[in-house]
Symmetry: C2
Subunit: 335 residues, 2 copies
DNA sequence: ACAAGTATTGCATTCGTATGCAAACATGAC
DNA sequence: GTCATGTTTGCATACGAATGCAATACTTGT
């Protein structure tokens, strides 16, 4: 029982003009006299006419649509990033087509749908892109910008924060504060951000002549991080400091230490996170962490994507934005 | 420098068949022989052909797209709801067009864009719908389902949790635990969910012969809730219990009481929230709250929307799903 | 080999809007 | 009023795929 929608032709008939005239009333730059415009708009109002974006997209060959691929929407960092991206693109007259993928990065089906959807650009938030798809995007000159994820394929732009140096700082700082049994809690083994944070961290420890006491993996999830914490503290001597690959897991560590092991942070164990999500600043945690410039990252990525769409084919860019250590009080000896 | 995309006609030419044949290879139910299908698929593979969804939508008059309007994506409750909705619709072969609106509910521009986008249905998460737009959706027989928001217009379906009885329970429970100076912390004044929670709460208090000690408004935001808490505890006698309209604010209350007033929860002040977001169960808070059946709400709403799309025009439904009190230890005297 | 039936194919048209082109019109200078 | 210039308008076509219809190619039974 699909109700037939009002077309520009019907409006034209009512207004006594041609369909072209109606069309021109709805394209900002077209040439149309005030008199006919008024007639047309009045007729359109009467009929409840609205231009059909799909038909418009077909003829202009531009969908004004961006595909956004997100994983980990449960992580506030990415929820907030998505919100910002949406704001940006809405203001530019673009629509967002949302695709959620699971963490395991099975983007197969989704990528096909994106390519068929005629999106003009692809924004990837914390989701990986299989190399063949990256190549296909390049072939079709569909710009892709990834936030916080890298792909080993040329032609794709990337905006990340300086994960390596963030990890590096965390390592140095923990050593400087006198820790010696320092553990690392990684996120997803497949994530490049986690890998760089880890690398910087381990390099820093090595530089200081300290070796990593233990490594665990928490998949960026609260419950997995709790379990990892239990494993780390199962037998003495336990770590005296933990660097977690994101805040979400760092909080889980703190909660678990306090409630299950009766350990205090930072008196017994120091904890550092990564991201500086709002939770990190809550008084209960006051988490020392590495701040990613979230807003700047998403603004940069969005701007970049838009530029590449407009300029046809810009050469891809790899940007790394600086991180900022945020010293609170989850590491002992902080001022 | 828009690269021309491969069309079904080109594939047809290469495969030595008609464009119709190519089209039929990509519609599951069409009649096509295995031989030509193979030829066509091979040609399509060689050229990297992908059917153009926009053209398909135009001719079939179905966009297979749902518009999702969200506000408060920073609230994990809605981020998780969105994630679930996305999962559901992706599985059904629908795409999600995402629209974020600010809390003040200025949906003007956005609603126009949605109507022009040819979305087949509209899912509203915690966002209100201006009455004229609701009417226009009804006129065009575009189904609308709202989650946790009501609109005073017939024709729109609504799925909510039982906000009234949730608030009612909170009121009764606080009185039963011996509280007498009970305050209410509302969310947005414009939100219908908050209004019902408040109403149930006040009715319960009245029933018990207790009057509400104070009311404040926290706009569902952490910092606003902190400020409201400061106002509530500015002068003695201060409340001995607070019911916050959602968990997010309840947590803010607890954090503020502990860090700024040195008050303990629940020994000095009891706190109840609403939603049962993951944070509520963290050991640091162990928040007594009213659980909304989040997954069930979104599943119901999505199913409903899809039914209404498929059956043309189903009569709109108002569903209220039961809430479940979750007693933890942020109210004194809990077992 | 033939008729009748079925399965596959191509032709032509359609969806709703945008736009190049040429015709029609308005404006202004003289 | 005439001509030149500039503005508006309608016509016709295009975008890329889906589909009713008629034509053709296969089956199968005899």
């Amino acid at each position: 029982m699909k109700k037939k929608s009002v077309t520009s032709r019907e409006v034209a008939q009512l207004a006594g003009v041609s369909q072209s005239a109606v069309s021109r009333c709805f394209s900002p730059k077209a040439s149309i006299s005030k008199k006919t415009r008024d007639k047309v708009l009045e007729a359109a109002r009467q009929l409840g006419y609205r231009p059909n974006t799909i038909a418009r997209s077909l003829i202009t060959r531009s969908s004004r649509t961006i595909a956004v691929v997100v994983s980990q929407l449960d992580n506030p960092f990415y929820a907030l990033t998505l919100a910002k991206a949406s704001e940006y693109f809405q203001a530019e007259g673009y629509h967002l087509l949302l695709f959620l993928v699971s963490d395991d990065g099975n983007t197969e089906g989704v990528m096909s749908e994106i390519l068929e959807s005629q999106a003009e650009g692809i924004l990837m938030l914390a989701a990986s892109l299989a190399t063949p798809f990256a190549q296909e995007c390049v072939d079709r000159s569909i710009p892709v910008v990834m936030i916080n994820r890298t792909v080993d394929s040329a032609g794709v732009s990337q905006v990340s924060s300086d994960n390596y140096h963030g990890g590096h700082w965390a390592g140095r700082y923990l050593v400087a504060q006198g820790h010696s049994r320092i553990a690392f809690l990684n996120g997803l083994p497949t994530s490049s951000t986690g890998a760089y944070r880890r690398l910087g961290f381990l390099d820093a420890l090595a530089l200081e002549g300290v070796s990593c006491w233990a490594e665990e993996c928490g998949d960026y999830r609260f419950d997995k991080a709790s379990e990892a914490t239990r494993r780390l503290f199962a037998k003495s001597p336990y770590p005296d400091a933990i660097f977690a690959a994101n805040d979400h897991m760092a909080i889980a560590v703190i909660e678990t230490l306090r409630s299950e092991f009766g350990l205090r942070v930072p008196e017994d164990v120091s904890v550092i996170g990564f991201d500086d999500t709002p939770v990190a600043s809550w008084p209960s945690f006051h988490l020392t962490t590495v701040r990613q410039p979230r807003e700047e990252m998403v603004a940069t990525a969005s701007r970049l994507l838009l530029e590449q769409i407009r300029e046809g084919q810009l050469s891809p860019v790899q940007l790394t934005l600086p991180v900022v250590p945020v010293i609170r009080s989850s590491v002992r000896g902080a001022v």
